[in-house]
Symmetry: C2
Subunit: 172 residues, 2 copies
Amino acid sequence: MKLGEGVEAAIHCAALLAGLEDDSTVPAAAMAAQFGLSPSYLLKHLKALTAAGLLESVPGPAGGYRLARPADSISLLDIVLAVEGPRPAFRCCEIRQRGPVKLPASAYVKPCGINTAMLRAEQAYRAALASERLSDIVSDYVAEADPRSVAAGRAFLAENRRPQKTVANPQD
Amino acid sequence: MKLGEGVEAAIHCAALLAGLEDDSTVPAAAMAAQFGLSPSYLLKHLKALTAAGLLESVPGPAGGYRLARPADSISLLDIVLAVEGPRPAFRCCEIRQRGPVKLPASAYVKPCGINTAMLRAEQAYRAALASERLSDIVSDYVAEADPRSVAAGRAFLAENRRPQKTVANPQD
């Protein structure tokens, strides 16, 4: 079984952006350099996270990415599904219906028990991924990772964050 | 996320072989025909199940496959790992270490928290797959599937099983 490689990049970027303390953004190119990834490769996954409502993309000279909602309402399941799509890992091809002895379609109204059992296990996987919150991953990282690594992450954000100009509320 | 297509074929074959009531075997070609699969494709997966100790392969004119151990000691996890290999679905490439700011290796002695969280969820998936026993899948199938489908499965076994000749115990 296999998750696409984009999942690692997507989680690392989301964890990095969780460290922004205001509405600043970080450009995709800076994150690509930080993780040694090609910018176009990373952009594909950042766009998927944006389409899923996990990130916001701000255009223009101060543009970049930031979280679209608080890190405690983003789970690893949200990120995995954004990058990998919603389909289950086990994809039933109904091979039970392919044999030389053809039964009427009415014999296959009930779902295949093998598919049902595989999906039951996958629900457990998804529930476990849903219980892993981005905010917990970040706070565990700050508490437990090597202090040099934590400091390097903060230095990255200080150097690459793009503050947003305050826009007057148009309704004022 | 994705499991290989061979998993469905492997589980169906194991469930079919669980219906053998003695030490008979079923040839790979018959199972391939039953599930509309190419014999060489199926053979690859049957060999993986055999290498993992889940099936036994009997050579010769009465040859074929049978379960190597009772169906209640074979789980969906056993079958998935036999077909897909033991590696976790999430494969950490240590992209945290790739950035332009190089820290000494000692800063990365602790495992990446993102990898740890993903593996924690995968353990839940594996535990759920391990709790799904082949014997339960078969008994649920017999109890709940359409009786025509159950009868067709039994007819397949009656037609394709290859009884083994009794061999005198060489120690007698």
